[in-house]
Structures are given as C-alpha cells and as structure tokens.
Amino acid sequence: MSVLYLVVPLAMLMVAVAVAAYVWATRSGQLDDLDTPPLRMLHDDEPRPPARR
C-alpha cells in the first residue's frame, strides 16, 4: 500500500494538468458559446476549394 505515497501525488499532478488545460480552454474562448458548436459538428467537412482566397 505504500505505493500510495507515490500515486496520490501523481494523481494530483494529473489533476493539475487537467485544470491547466481547462483554464487555457476557457481563456481562449472555447466556452464562450455553448450552442453553436454542437450544431457545427453535424456538418461534414469538405475540402476547401483551392485558390478561392
């Protein structure tokens, strides 16, 4: 059971990584609009016509 001394801090580290990812996602605006993306993912991706830009 002494593995706990290693595993618990490791778990905390993973939580820290997840929290950091969440904070980054929020600050970069990924949670600003929760209504449109679920609609957007329904559309198939299509190759962008070349030389259109």
Binding site: V8, T26, G29, D33, D35, H43
Partner: protein, 857 residues
C-alpha cells in the same frame, strides 16, 4: 453580392445540372430534373422553388430551365451556393424552408471610415474583425451557410456564428474585399446584417464570464478531489487505517483546500471585506468567516495530527456557492440582453445629403450617401423618405409630413410636422419626404437615452435578493451568538471540544442553501418568463405581483388595440371601391382602417390623388370627384347627407365621403378591444384582483369599454390627465400594493409611482424604461401569465427558504449538542444545497404562452 458577381459567365443557368437530391423536399430525383418529378403539386404549374421549396408563381416558371425559383432572392442564393460548390446545403434536413428575401441594399455605409472607427478592430496580422447581428438566424443550416461565406467571397478568412444570440464574428482582409461586399452576400443568403452595437459591453462581459468559469472549474476539480480523499478518510474511520496514510490524505486535503480558498474562494473574502468596510453584514461575511475559521482549525488539527478537519465541506461549499452565483448572474442578464437587441434593430443607417446648396438633381453637386447611424454628427442634413425611420434627433429643414411617434409616445395617432418642428430618432416618416438637420445623434438621442435607462433598470439588483442578504445579516449574527453560547457551555467540560463544536456549527450553518434559495428561484423564473416574452427587471416585482391587490389598466393600446378600426359605416356598397381607390396608397391610420375593414373589396383606380393635411384625401376615381375626410373638409365642397351626420357613439371619429359634390356615406372609427381583453380581465378578477380602468379618454368611452369588460362603473376612471393618473395611483398606493399597466408617455409617471409598473407591447420607450416588467407579446394574456407565474415563483421561494432554515436549525442543534460528526456535516451540506437547486429548477413558474412561432420557420 450583386447578381452580376455570381452568375456563371460561361454557363447559362438553364444548363446547370441539378445535383442529386437537389430541390424538392421529398428527396429523390437521381439526375432527374426536379420539375418533372411527380408529386410536385403545389404552385401555378406544379413547380416548386429549387431553393426554398415554395410554389413558383406562374409568371416565374421558365419551361426550359432545370432549376426554378420563386423569387430573385432564391435565385441569387442558389447562384451563390452553386458558384461556391455548396450544393450540399440542399441535403441538410433542417434547412430553412421559408422564401429568401434579399433586401437589395448596398450596405455602402459599412465601408465608411466612421463605421470602421466605431466597430471594426484591426488585428496585428493585418486582418479586420467585426461583429454583425444577423436577422433570421435560427437553425443548424444557418450556421452551415453563414460559416461558408469565406468560400464564396475571396478575402474573407473566417465567419463564426453564435446561433443563440445571432451574432456573426467576421474576419476579413480589408485590402482585398470591402465589408459591404460581404454584407451583400449575407443579405443575399437571407440574413440581413446589422452592426452589433454592444461590442464594448460584450468584451467586459466575456472577460467576466471567463473568469467566473475558471473559478467554478478550479473549485469543482478541487472539491471532487478533496471529496475522494475524504472518502478514504471516512472509510478509514469506519474500518481502521494506518496513521501514515491518514496523515497523507489529511495533508493532501489541506493543500488542495488552501488552493481552492486562495484562488476561486478569494471572491468571498474580498466581498466580505468590502461589506465590513461598509459596516454591513453581507452574505459573503458568514461565508468568508466559515471558510477562514474552518481552514485555520483544520490546518491546526492537521499539523497536530488529531481532531477533525473540515476540508471536504469547505471545498464543496466554495464550489456550490460559485456555481449558484454564476446562475444568478446569467438570469439577471435577460433584460439587458433584450435592450441590446433593440439597440441593434434601431435604424443603422441614414441618408446624408452632401454638398448641399450647390444645386439639386443631375447637374448639381448635391448627392445623397448612406452613412451608418453611429457616424452621424450634429449639423448634418438628412434626406428622409416616406416610410423611413429616423436615425437621429433633429429639426425639419424643409418639407411637411406626418410622423408616427408610437415608439416614443405610444400615441397611435400620427403627428403632423412642418418646417422647424423637432423630430426624434426611432419615429417613422409616414407621408412625404423631409429634410432634417441633425441636432442630437448616437448616444445622445432621446431614443438612446431611454434605451440606456432600460439597460440600467435591467442590471438593477433585485430587491428580494437584497432582502435575502439582509436576512443573512441577521442570520449570521444569530449564528455568531449561538457559536459563542456553544463555546461557553462546553468550555468547562473540554476546551478543545468546545472549539471544535463551535466550528462545526459555523460550517454547517453556513447559509449555503439560504444564499441559493431566493436568487436561484428568481433567476430561473425570470429566465423562463423572458423566454415567454415577459421581461422582468427585478425580483421584487415578482414578489409584489404574487399577492392580489389593485391593478390599473390604461385603456388605449393596453386594453384596446391602439389603432383605428372602422366600427360604424352607413352608405351604399358602390362607394367602397371608390374610397379604397383613394386610400390604397395612403399611410394614414384611417386609410389602414378602411383597408382592414374591406379586405375583399377590389379598389378602383384613382388619379390626381391629393392629401390635404388635417383634412382628408381627394382624387378622381372612374371620372368622378371623390372626397374622403373630416366632416369640415368634406363639407367645404359638398352638400347633402344631413341624415348621415349623426353618429350614434360619441367615442367614434367621424369621416364623411362625398362623390361629385354630394355627401353619400359616413363612417365612424374607433379603437376596438383586444380579442383576449375580456377573458383576461375576468381571469384576473377571479384570481382576486381588483381591476380598474384609468384612461385619458372621455368618461363615456371608458365606461363603455369597461361595460364590455364586465367592470362596475365606479372602476372606470376616464378623462384622466397624466397628473390625474399619477395622483390616483399615488392615493391608491397608500392603501396597499398598486399595479399600473400602460403603454404611453402619459402613463410613464404613473407606472413609476406604482408598486409595480408594467409596460405593454408596442408601447412607448418611456414606459419601458420606468416599468419593472415589460410584456413583449401583445394582449393581456401575458399579464395573466405574469401574475400567475409570480405567484408560483413565490411559492417556490418560500419552500426553499423553509427548507434551508429547517436544515440549518436541525444542524445547529446537533452541532451545539456536540452530536454532529464532520461526516454528517459533509453529507448534509451539499445535500441541502442540491435540494434547493433541484426544487428551484423543477418548480413550475412561468408557463409558455400562446406566442407565435419564430418568424421565418
């Protein structure tokens, strides 16, 4: 995008092969031209529009073509889609199926430097960014279509649509393509863009939202992990645990909780400090106290390696309170959002005369340009066509016309304006072109000032919430006294236990559920009300509306429809086409009344029609001279018809008709009751309300309307000037709650003086600004729903408060008796909050009304 831009130069439309699945809604037609498909029964020749699926009018069917269109807008949209290789749109099941109407505007004003100065931000990468409010956005295919604009307009890098708020974020290269071209594309697809005016507020709000979400997320992650550690500790407490592991979990909990309180939980500390500095007891004070004391005692016990720790409860508390606060904030924004929307729909551009005084017409240098409304400056000269909405306040420089001031004053009767008259933004020019010299524009206009007041009203904090805060103040004082008593009682027996019990009391009675009970129920109710077209600006209004009292209704526009309708007619039938012939081209409300009254009558053709201001209208119809207008005007050039002069009801406006100098018909115009008025009034009365009419109209008219609503004579107060209305409402307010419902400026003072002021649909902005509630759907049905919804909301709130107080009472008693183990505290606390949340969420408050479906579907 103009038609010329999108037509395929080398391939005529008729030879464009229709892609599979294109066109008719029962999908099919593998390579078969849609026109020849069986089952296409609608339309003149059984042809449906390739783009929208509506029947194609006979004159628009092109027999040789494989694709058919019901209108130019659809044709343009199809060309844009086809040109961009976007036929995939037609295979989307959820696509819009209403006809696309392109407004055909040039959107020239979007390229003006003044517009860019105000709305456009330039990034360091050389791209420009702007936010546009799009009309007509409602479903998944809108997202698809709008976000593919970069495919068809070169130079546009990205378009992102927020479908809930109909906001499109656009990134484009200003050097390659003007914004107006992009705007024309969106317009051609059926989404007329408007510049979004709340950009700055939006930035602030987005920043706040993100900070709040970060806090909630961090607090939540920590709370869950502390809970895991607590689970290990509690199972150890039941089944035995090695002291080393126990120490490990206690230290882990300590570290995590410290982070939680120092980062997301800091808002409570700063809030409590601010409250203490103001010498008040705010809800944040007991929360901060519990958090700090609990953390300190828990840390001491962790270091001492004995005694209870409270970390699981503290971490959970932080998370639950932050989440509750977030919900409350979102609810309070509903009213502000609607004001923002109004802002975006007010006229966005105006026609400005440049080079004035240098000769008009072809040869002169004078020309008219469209400028964004925000770029207007005092001193500019505006060209206002008949039917245009004014974009700024100003003074009439030349021309005379009638203006519809309904938006500002709620007055349905149009007002005549002449040179020198003051006119206001938001009013509509009805009759003839005007030249207006701008006096106040943009944020200083009367309309903008009123809208700002509406927004501020929307952000005003609900008094019920404040009341909950005051309650919390008393509550925290009680808790502190109880804690002191606990310490005093236990001190003799065991000083350490005394401190522990007091802390357990502080934590377990932390008014988490109480703090959530009212704001959550109010914000859920306000949100639901907003979605049914009732905008509530403060929770206190809901509280006062929950108990029946006296309700004053303004007559014009509130109980009645607020427009002229033909209520009485005497004259031969052959006169009707002649009258309609004259009135068909007129914007006058009486003309509208004639048209509504006789929808089936085909108007004859008129010539030489002339309006006479304040009199009526005259013209030649079928070779006969016809005059329609006020009795004075008609009798100037006609005689006879004495038997027609007596209109039975004094409340009706008389109109005479003369043909070839002979009075042949008479009409009476009145303001009809709303269809649901009688039913709604009866419902309110059966709910226990005393309903009274309060109107500026003559007492006879008001009594007549009251009789039809089933009201006793003494409850119909007529002939009331605005000052009288104010006086009546003030007097009544002394004896209890008074609700005033009205729509005009003449009601604004009374609305503000009433306990609860309610503005109704189509009313003046002034009444909206002073009202506590705004009913965005026509009719009194919304009023009934508001009153009954308020009653149900208060029931939910009372239930919440009773529950949380009971919980606190029980928990406090247990803690004082020393019977409360931290485990029970940890279970009870989140459980009580959760119960309140669920009760608020599930509680029935506002029921959806019979509002019409979204336009465009």
């Amino acid at each position: 995008m103009s038609r010329a831009d999108v037509m395929l130069p080398a391939a005529p439309r008729a030879t464009v092969a229709a892609p599979a699945g294109l066109g008719l809604r029962p999908p099919g037609g593998d390579g078969v031209a849609p026109v020849s498909l069986p089952g296409a029964a609608a339309g003149a020749a059984g042809v449906d529009c390739t783009h929208c699926g509506s029947p194609v009018p006979a004159g628009y069917v092109e027999p040789a073509a494989e694709v058919q269109f019901c209108c130019e807008g659809c044709h343009t949209a199809f060309d844009i889609l086809h040109d961009g290789g976007l036929e995939g749109y037609y295979s989307l099941s959820d696509r819009r199926d209403s006809p696309v109407r392109s407004s055909g505007r040039s959107y020239e004003e979007l390229d003006h430097p003044a517009f860019h100065e105000l709305y456009v931000r330039r990034g360091e990468d050389g791209l420009s960014r702007v936010e546009l409010y799009l009309e007509g956005v409602h479903c998944a295919s809108c997202v698809w279509l709008v976000e593919r604009v970069p495919f068809v307009v070169p130079g546009v890098v990205r378009v992102e649509l927020d479908v809930r708020r109909s906001l499109a974020r656009v990134e484009w290269d200003a050097a390659l393509v003007p914004l107006s071209r992009l705007a024309r594309s969106l317009d051609g697809l059926g989404y007329p863009p408007h510049p979004f005016r709340g950009v700055r507020a939006e930035e602030v709000r987005r920043r706040e939202d993100r900070a709040m979400l970060v806090r909630i997320g961090v607090a939540g992650a920590i709370a869950m992990n502390v809970m895991l550690a607590a689970l290990a500790l509690y199972s150890g407490w039941l089944g035995g645990m090695e002291p080393g592991y126990e120490r490990l979990f206690r230290w882990v909990s300590l570290v995590l909780t410290t982070i939680s309180l120092a980062w997301p939980g800091r808002v409570f500390m700063t809030g409590a400090l601010a409250a203490l500095r103001m010498r008040t007891l705010h809800m944040d004070v007991p929360i901060a106290l519990a958090l700090v004391v609990g953390l300190a005692r828990g840390a001491a016990n962790t270091i001492a390696d004995s005694g209870p720790i409270y970390f699981d409860g503290l971490a959970m508390l932080t998370f639950a309170l932050l989440a509750g606060r977030y919900l409350q904030q979102r609810g309070q924004r509903a009213a502000a959002d609607s004001a923002e929307l109004l802002h975006s729909l007010a006229p966005s551009s105006a026609r400005v005369v440049e080079g004035e005084g240098e000769g008009e017409g072809e040869g002169g240098k004078e020309r008219v340009r469209e400028l964004p409304a925000a770029a207007l400056l005092p001193g500019m000269l505006l060209d206002v066509r008949a039917g245009d909405t004014l974009a700024a306040d100003g003074v009439v420089e030349s021309g005379s016309s009638t203006m519809d001031l309904a938006l500002l004053t709620g007055e349905s009767r149009p007002e005549e304006v002449e040179v020198g008259a003051e006119v206001f933004a938001g009013t509509v020019n009805l009759a003839a072109p005007l030249r207006v010299r701008v006096s106040r524009a943009g944020e200083t206009s009367r309309l903008a000032t009123l809208l700002r007041q509406v927004e501020e009203g929307g952000l005003r904090r609900a008094k019920v919430v404040q009341m909950a805060d005051r309650l919390a103040g008393r509550f925290v004082a009680t808790v502190l006294v109880l804690a002191a008593i606990t310490v005093a009682i236990w001190w003799q027996a065991d000083p350490a236990a005394a401190v522990d019990h007091a802390i357990a009391l502080l934590i377990v009675t932390c008014p988490c559920a109480l703090a959530l009970a009212t704001p959550l129920a109010v914000s859920v109710a306000v949100g639901r009300a907003a979605s049914t077209g009732i905008l509530v600006k403060g929770g206190d209004a809901l509280e006062q509306l929950s108990r029946p009292s006296t309700i004053f209704l303004d007559k014009t526009g509130t109980v009645t429809e607020g427009r002229s309708a033909l209520e009485w007619w005497r004259g031969p039938d052959w006169v009707r086409p002649l009258v309609l012939a004259l009135e068909s081209g007129s914007l006058h409300p009486l003309a509208d009344g004639f048209r509504r009254a006789w929808p089936g009558v085909e108007p004859a053709s008129a010539s030489g029609t002339a309006h006479v201001m304040g009199g009526g209208i005259e013209g030649i119809v079928d070779g006969r001279r016809v005059r329609v207008g006020s009795p004075r005007f008609v009798r100037e050039a006609a005689r006879g018809g004495a038997e027609l002069a007596a209109i039975p009801d004094v409340s009706l406006t008389p109109v005479l008709v003369a043909v070839d100098g002979e009075v042949v018909a008479a009409a009476g115009f009145g303001d009809p009751l709303r269809a649901d008025a009688a039913r709604s009034v009866a419902r309110l009365r059966s709910d226990g309300w005393r309903v009274r009419l309060l109107s500026g109209d003559s007492p006879a008219v008001v009594t007549a309307a009251g009789r039809r609503l089933g009201l006793p004579r003494e409850d119909c107060l007529g002939g009331a000037l605005p000052e009288d209305k104010l006086h009546v409402v003030r007097t009544a307010a002394r004896n209890g709650t008074v609700v005033m419902v009205g729509d005009g400026v003449n009601d604004a003072a009374a609305i503000a003086a009433a306990s609860v002021g309610i503005g109704v649909h189509g009313g003046a902005e002034a009444s909206m600004a002073t009202a506590d509630v705004y009913l965005a759907t026509p009719g009194l049905d919304a009023l009934v729903r508001l009153v009954e919804g308020a009653r149900r909301t208060m029931r939910v709130i009372r239930r919440n408060i009773i529950f949380s107080l009971t919980y606190n009472l029980v928990a406090a008693a247990l803690a004082m008796a020393g019977l409360l183990h931290p485990l029970w505290a940890a279970i009870l606390m989140p459980a009580s909050s959760l119960t309140v949340v669920i009760a608020s969420w599930r509680g029935t408050t506002f029921l959806p009304g019979t509002t019409t479906e979204e336009a465009g579907r």
